[in-house]
């Protein structure tokens, strides 16, 4: 398709603003532009040498070998011999020419509903009706536009970066006229977990954002369905806009792999594909990202070196930050090597003008040039379905090209011009003559040797006589030059000032000048040698050797995932937590993640059968072996909010959407023998959120931490927290404010859940009964609106989900059991349950378990009557009793807390140990898998060097699924390794920071408790 184009053949008439009345005479735009004899990179992988590109009316009309392309009609030709032409870049994550999000001031009271006027949705953070095209205003965005152009961009997808559902993005060219620039007014749909400028309370947490986003998908489904059947009673412009954008490419602003994986999970749940805008840390979890199948958008904002001059303040820089500083530049290369498709964005750079040097940094870390180019051109064009408009140099596309004098990302190559929609933006004048070289300067009958050197923008000159340099004041100005010389030693006394013109590509200069005495003199200069062009090394050289990625990416992470082991523990005191009780000098064998054998005098054949695997023997004589400790109630390993808490019920939210696998407390607690924990929602509202039960597989991804097939749980709460007793005067309006109201919240929600459940049952029945005719005519009944909150509560009624309830006072404990009894379910667990001892008989009758603190009290009025004997009393009444932490520090000493059940109330040691092993396993309904040492159960076990209930004992080894995640001796080696790695990186960083650098910052090591209220998900 190498066309011979005649002007008449051009089908479109792209004269701007066709419909507008004209003031004056019309510009017909008949003159074409031809870029000739260039090396044309028509795509990232296809290069045409000596080629021509023709522009007509802002678009590419033809591209092909210069020998073939002929242009008829008026044309301006540019000879680009020796230069390169590239398609200009496309950035698909931008807020170019978008208005700033307006935030309302802080400190206003609670706000339940959106205060946006009009028939829009209820939540301000869900704003699908926002159309970037509507608010796109390039007239005020000149400096941003210049910066993008200077970076090499020709078009961007811009959207209002505010809220969870952000509306649509527009593909715009970087031209000033919005009518010309808007290439695709609705190019994309945009999402995030960040609440943004919304002044509404809900959602306050990451899990709230996640639930809100999912619910919005379900609401939109329902809305579409109801509209189709003409059963819709309300109009919701937000949902209409949402549905309209469903078919557009969807970008999720995740900022990193963490939210990236979360977004992919949401996508899977609602059957929607997201392209993940994933920051610069994807290298930390490549396998998991790859498994999502999502394309990525990567940023190149690599961390700057910290100032590590002071050894004390540099402690504030974490090992993970040091390593990220080193590894982030290799991010794109590693993502590429993993076979994941990605685009690059300038988002996060100080200015988009720095994109090429940022890419070069990536190339030095292994990113191939063609991949980088594709990631800035073809791939983004493809991801937004605009390959017919941008991203390559081909007929019909926008005339968006770059002209360079070398490979585009190389630091020695210059971006000479950026053409946007046929409009030329020049950075370096192609016609500029290179004055550098040596000349014979003839003046006043002398021949002087003149040398011009330096950078093109900053030339300098000198006269050299007998190897002595004499500085010359040199001022070139386009094609004229002036020279000021003071050469008294040569008899040219005083300042001689010459002015002249440059001719013949600088081969000859000539002009006149004034001697010191004011008389005039003729002069000329003839070039003796061409400027020296250094042979550029265009291959990217790999940067320094890089350290390993750690799993998880935090202190004490492992370079390699530890493997399952087959271990024979010999001669231990084994606390089985089974009926067999405590076995002295017994053996335990673990194999394939399970406990294979327990007992005295085991022999290989009876344990392994005929095929004996390789295994290690651990001499456990004098030591104690217990089941892994299980914490019924923790708040570690969760991120961006532990309480949604903005409504009396937030049953729709789940901690599973905010699990943080990179929390060092997992490791610290492994060192205390903990192997499983339930991460609970906080206690800010009567119906909190769904929990996550995790195994402490240190290094696994958030999803892999989840205890597979565990029964689902939800957190409830009673008392002071839910009635907002200690929240200050602003919070006196949310129902409930008394324990009386708390009861009504439950009844109201459970009746609604029952009705909801019935509606779905009816619907399913109707569907089964529906006539073939209805099916044929597509008049099947509309499904009820799927409601994540009521669905969760209905699961409780159907005993498919279990309640663990934060509780203190006996009256409210009693109340909740009545609610449950009357609604036909059982409260599985009362957690905290500090006045449980007052109603132990009632709890036993109801069938509830209790997970308590050993000895906490007196921190709130409702724990005035809390006693450390509580656990013993509950246990004595036949209640399954556990001690939990609710505290990241205490959690690593739960065995000692169990000992307090011996001290306070005389529980036997074996039974006390069950308070932190088998009993919490029962409460979590995972006792078929964990909680005791029994053949066939998971090999979650701890080897202690002393009596497991003693303050003096230490965990020597902790296993989860037969994999050793903690070892006292390996811990020492790990510390050494960290010290070494740290020292190496600090040296490298010190060298890189060159006396400056960022001030170190201390991360928020924030430990959540039940009543932690934060708003950290904006």
């Amino acid at each position: 398709m190498l066309p011979l184009m005649a002007a008449a053949a051009v089908g479109h008439s792209a004269v701007a603003q066709e419909t507008f009345p004209v003031n004056g005479v019309v510009n017909k735009q008949l003159v074409r532009t031809a870029l000739e004899h260039a090396t044309v990179h028509v795509s990232a992988t296809e290069v045409l040498e000596d080629a021509t590109v023709v522009f007509y009316q802002g678009r590419i009309e033809a591209v092909g070998p210069s020998s073939v392309i002929q242009v008829n009609g008026p044309v301006i030709r540019h000879d680009l011999n020796g230069l390169h032409v590239y398609p200009s870049f496309v950035d698909i994550h931008s807020d170019y020419a978008m208005p700033e999000a307006q935030r309302e001031g802080w400190g206003r009271g609670p706000q339940d509903l959106s205060d946006k006027k009009g028939a829009y949705g209820w939540n301000e953070a869900v704003r699908p009706e926002t159309r970037a095209a509507d608010v796109f205003d390039p007239t005020e965005a000149e400096s941003d536009r210049n910066a993008y152009q200077k970076g090499g961009f020709g078009a961007v997808v811009s959207h209002v970066q505010d809220g969870i559902v952000r509306g649509t993005g527009a593909l715009v060219a970087l031209s000033e006229d919005s009518r010309r620039a808007l290439l695709k007014p609705e190019a994309s749909a945009h999402y995030s977990f960040r609440k943004g400028s919304s002044s509404q309370d809900y959602p306050r947490s990451l899990m709230g954002s996640t639930a809100l986003l999912k619910q919005t998908f379900f609401d939109a489904n329902w809305y579409a369905d109801a509209s189709r059947l003409n059963e819709r009673l309300e109009t919701n412009l937000s949902l209409e806009a949402f549905n309209a954008s469903r078919s557009m490419p969807s970008f999720f602003d995740a900022g990193g792999w963490e939210d990236g994986l979360r977004a992919a999970k949401v996508g899977a749940d609602v059957d929607h594909n997201f392209i993940l805008v994933a920051g610069n840390n994807a290298y930390q979890r490549l396998e998991e990202l790859q498994a999502t199948g999502a394309s990525l958008v990567l940023s190149l904002d690599y961390p700057k070196a910290y100032d590590v001059s002071n050894p004390y303040t540099s402690r504030l820089v974490g090992l993970d930050e040091l390593k990220h500083w080193e590894l982030a530049p290799a991010n794109a290369a590693r993502v590429h090597a993993a076979g994941i498709e990605f685009a690059l964005t300038a988002d996060g750079l100080e200015s988009p003008s720095g994109i090429r040097s940022a890419v070069w940094t990536s190339m030095r870390h292994g990113l191939p040039e063609a991949v980088a180019l594709a990631a800035l051109t073809e791939i983004p064009a493809k991801l937004i379905g605009a390959s017919d408009r941008v991203g390559r140099i081909a007929k019909g596309l926008e005339a968006n090209v770059l002209i360079t004098d070398g490979p585009i990302f190389h630091p020695d190559a210059q971006l000479l011009e950026n053409w946007v929609q046929g409009e030329q933006h020049t950075y370096v004048n192609r016609d500029e003559v290179d004055l550098r070289g040596s000349y014979n300067l003839a003046v006043a009958d002398r021949i002087l040797s003149l040398e011009v050197s330096g950078e093109l923008s900053k030339l300098k000159a000198k006269v050299v006589i007998d190897s002595t340099d004499y500085k010359v004041d040199f001022a070139p100005d386009g094609r004229s030059v002036s020279l000021g010389m003071k050469l008294d030693t040569l008899g040219l006394d005083g300042w001689w000032r010459l002015s002249g013109n440059v001719w013949m590509d600088s081969r000859i200069w000539e002009g006149r000048g004034q001697r010191a005495d004011g008389t005039w003199v003729e002069w000329s200069a003839i070039r003796q040698s061409e400027p020296e062009t250094e042979a550029s090394e265009y291959e990217a050289q790999p940067d320094s050797v890089q350290g390993d990625v750690m799993y998880p990416f935090v202190a004490y992470g492992n370079a390699e995932r530890p493997a399952q082991r087959t271990v024979w523990f010999e001669g231990a005191t084994v606390w089985t937590c089974e009926e067999s009780g405590k076995l002295e000098q017994a053996d335990v064998v673990i194999h394939n993640g399970k406990i294979l054998a327990v007992g005295a005098a085991l022999d290989e054949a009876s344990v392994f059968g005929s095929s004996i695997p390789a295994y290690e023997r651990v001499d456990a004589r004098g030591k104690h072996l217990t089941p892994g400790i299980i914490d019924e109630h923790t708040h570690i390993a969760a991120t961006r909010g532990i309480n949604e808490g903005t409504q009396a019920s937030s049953a729709e939210v789940t901690i599973q959407s905010s699990v943080n696998s990179e929390d060092v407390n997992i490791y610290r607690q492994l060192a205390g023998g903990v192997t499983t924990a339930q991460i609970l929602h906080g206690s800010a509202n009567p119906i909190g959120g769904q929990s996550a039960i995790i195994k402490f597989r240190w290094g696994a991804s958030p999803q892999e931490l989840l205890f597979e097939d565990a029964s689902p749980f939800i957190k409830f709460a009673l008392g002071e927290n839910v009635k907002q007793s200690n929240w200050g005067n602003d919070y006196r309006s949310r129902f409930p404010q008394t324990r009386m109201g708390v009861e009504q919240v439950y009844y109201d929600h459970f009746y609604r859940a029952r009705e909801y459940d019935q509606a779905w049952k009816d619907y399913r029945q109707n569907m089964r009964n529906a006539s073939r005719k209805a099916r044929r005519n597509n008049t099947l009944p509309a499904a009820p609106r799927r409601d994540l909150e009521l669905e969760t509560l209905a699961q409780i009624l159907n005993e498919e989900r279990f309640v663990t309830c934060h509780s203190y006072r006996q009256d409210e404990i009693n109340m909740l059991m009545h609610v449950a009894d009357s609604m036909g379910f059982t409260i599985n667990t009362f957690t905290h349950i500090l006045e449980g001892y007052k109603v132990a008989d009632k709890m036993a009758e109801h069938g509830a378990g209790g997970s308590s603190f050993s000895d906490w009290w007196a921190y709130k009025f409702e724990v005035k009557d809390a006693i450390p004997y509580n656990g013993a009393v509950l246990h004595g009444q036949g209640i399954v009793t556990a001690f939990n932490s609710d505290d990241a520090e205490m959690a690593r000493r739960l065995n000692q807390e169990a000992a307090k059940a011996v001290k306070y109330g005389g529980v036997s040691e074996e039974e006390a140990l069950k308070f932190v092993t088998l009993n919490p396993a029962k409460l979590l309904r995972i006792d078929h898998r964990v909680g005791s040492i029994a053949v066939g159960k998971d090999a979650d076990i701890v080897l202690w060097d002393d009596h497991p209930l003693s303050v003096y004992t230490r965990a020597e080894q902790t296993y989860v699924d037969g994999t050793k995640y903690y070892d006292l001796e390996e811990d020492a080696a790990k510390r050494e390794w960290m010290r070494g790695e740290r020292a190496r990186l600090v040296q490298a960083m010190k060298a890189a920071a060159k006396g400056g650098g960022r001030t170190p910052s201390e991360r928020m090591h924030f430990h959540y408790h039940c009543d932690t209220l934060t708003d950290e998900n904006r």
Binding site: Y312, A555, Y837, K860, V873, G876, Y904, R1003
Partner: protein, 439 residues
């Protein structure tokens, strides 16, 4: 457990329906008492097996061996064979008695308003009727340094024992020192889930204000006692003792830089006794502390390391590191849940033993060392003749929660009632259920 079964009979029968009330303060010691047998942990770093400890007129009048003591000299003998005897444990830097229910403002008297308030005295608000205190002393913690919070200078602390009708009875030293919270050198700036720490712009100013406050107080002190009619400055009057060595300056500081500056400040100001409270980074500046005779009240042993890559057991080992460096230290438990949590002080010492201290060093870290640092070792802190007979007997090792069980406790020879509201509630409800009392 045998002793618990025994108590079931004794306590369960007699006190099951005792009215829920605070234990009555014990009457003065009338009869002399000899504790015979058992292991006496002296608090000095030594222990005696098969010991004999004599209590007379509120003082210890004998410390020796059971086989040599003259039993006839005592009115009453307590057989302690197989049991352990300890000096009363001391809880430094505690808000016990200053607050009752953490979340109820009306019950909190631990932090007065203001910035420099050396004149504010904690002893005034020490509530001897707190329901928390009896639960603390029943674990062997019998004395404490009651310390105010807040501001730059929080006020003065008092040294008390945990038995008395009123604060005058409880006070062993109404003012033992002034508490200064050294300003943090970096300010915290919230940003995207991170806290940026930068050097605080106001740090130099705040340090200057402290300097000035002390300089003025020193000048005031050097001018001598004002006449009865002269104008008095209450704040500067309260500071007087810092410069003549009668009061200690307790500087609450954890970071290297804070600690270093505090030690330099002590020298500049000519302050006789400086104590660092907290001291997370103290091992890093151990030489400085040792050379300047600055002891440390070590931050709560059961706490988390500061940085992710810190040794997992760093807080457990801090005491041992200071011991190795020859810095005098004791344990304390300031932090969350501090007033009710101080009953776990013995177990902090247990952990410090697990992580390096010898057993007797661990005992010392909550007895004599604390007394020395607070300046009350002349009359308490160890089992030595002539000191207050403030001590207790435990069935087992009192530093281990598995075995800590206090059977008798004496404060200045007075046998105190070890009952508390929590025990009363326990008995009340076990009785309701017809269940045995195993306490």
């Amino acid at each position: 457990m045998n002793y618990k079964a025994l108590l079931t009979l004794v306590v369960g029968a007699g006190m099951a329906v005792a009215a829920a009330a605070q234990p009555t303060p014990a009457p003065d010691q009338k009869e002399s008492i000899l504790i015979l047998g058992g292991t006496a942990h002296l608090g000095t770093g030594d222990a005696l097996e098969n010991a004999a400890i004599g209590l007379r007129d509120g003082k210890i009048d004998y410390v020796g061996f059971a086989r040599t003591v003259d039993r006839a000299r005592y009115d009453r003998v307590i057989e302690a064979n197989g049991r352990h005897i300890y000096p009363g444990f001391i809880a430094p830097n505690s808000t016990l008695g200053l607050q009752e229910i953490g979340a109820v403002r009306a019950t909190r008297d631990d932090a007065e308003v203001g910035t420099f308030k050396p004149h504010v005295r904690s002893i005034i608000a020490f509530n001897t009727d707190s329901e928390v205190t009896p639960t603390v002393r029943s674990n062997g913690v019998l004395m404490g340094q009651i310390t105010p919070r807040g501001g730059v200078i929080s006020g003065s602390s008092a040294f008390v024992h945990f038995d008395g009708w009123n604060w005058e009875d409880a006070a062993l030293k109404t003012v033992d020192g002034i508490h200064l919270n050294w300003p943090v050198t970096h300010h915290r700036h919230w940003q995207d889930g991170k806290i940026d720490i930068r050097k605080r712009k106001t740090y130099d100013q705040e340090r200057h204000e402290i300097q000035r406050f002390f300089s003025e107080a020193k000048a005031y002190a050097e001018a001598g006692e004002p006449s009865s009619t002269a104008v008095r400055d209450l704040r500067q009057e309260a500071m007087r003792g810092l410069f003549d060595g009668t009061l200690r300056l307790y500087v609450h500081a954890n970071d290297v830089r804070q600690i270093t500056e505090a030690v330099h400040f002590k020298r500049e100001m000519g302050i006789a006794h400086l104590v660092i409270v907290g001291g997370t980074d103290a091992p890093a500046v151990a030489d400085l502390l040792r050379d300047n005779n600055v002891p440390v009240m070590v931050k709560r042993v059961h706490s988390l390391p500061r940085f992710a890559e810190d040794d997992v057991d760093a807080p457990f080992r801090l005491a041992k590191e200071l011991e190795d460096e020859g810095v005098l230290f004791c344990l304390q438990n300031a932090g969350g849940m501090e007033h009710m949590g101080v009953r776990n002080l013995p177990f902090y010492a247990g952990t410090a033993h697990a992580y390096g201290l010898t057993y007797e060093q661990a005992v010392q870290s909550i007895t004599l060392n604390a007394a020395k640092i607070i300046g009350v070792d002349a009359f308490c802190g160890s089992l030595e003749t002539g000191k207050d007979a403030t001590l207790f007997i435990s069935e087992g090792d009192a530093l281990d929660m598995r075995t800590n069980y206090v059977t008798e406790a004496f404060i200045q020879g007075r046998a105190i009632d070890l009952d508390n509201r929590q025990r009363q509630l326990y008995r009340k409800f076990q009785a309701k259920y017809g269940a045995p009392i195993l306490d």
